[in-house]
Symmetry: C2
Subunit: 80 residues, 2 copies
């Protein structure tokens, strides 16, 4: 079973990487960028065959390792 | 208008970050992880109001800066 975890910074948390992207895009001549924020996407290939079991396991992975839940939030999509 | 760019490594490209995640998850006791691959997600807040113009501009941003098209592929989703 495949799952995709999308991890993004919580609103209000400063995103220096995003600021760097904004600056670089502007200097490259892209004037229409109001804001850029960068996050992570982790694609997991799981042995689980049951969707709810897979979602629950991935949730525990996020809490234990993949996301810093103080400043990040995560979204789990079970793909197949 | 908001857009989300998801940048992932092309198949076959070695992903040391993904390997590190696999190892860490296994050492934390998650045995059901066959593979993990990490990518980036960039959320853009654009001044553009037309969807096709926004998609075309973001495509140019990806080619110019956001993605290393030698080893990465990108997917553009126009959210609103």
């Amino acid at each position: 079973m495949k799952a995709r975890v999308t991890i993004t910074l919580k609103p209000g948390v400063l995103d220096p990487q995003g600021k760097a992207i904004e600056g670089a895009l502007t200097s490259l001549g892209f004037s229409g960028v109001n804001q850029a924020r960068q996050g992570k996407v982790i694609d997991l290939d799981l042995a689980a065959t049951d969707e709810s079991a897979a979602r629950e396991e991935v949730g525990r992975m996020c809490e234990a390792l993949l996301a810093n839940t103080v400043v990040e939030r995560y979204d789990i999509a079970i793909l197949s």
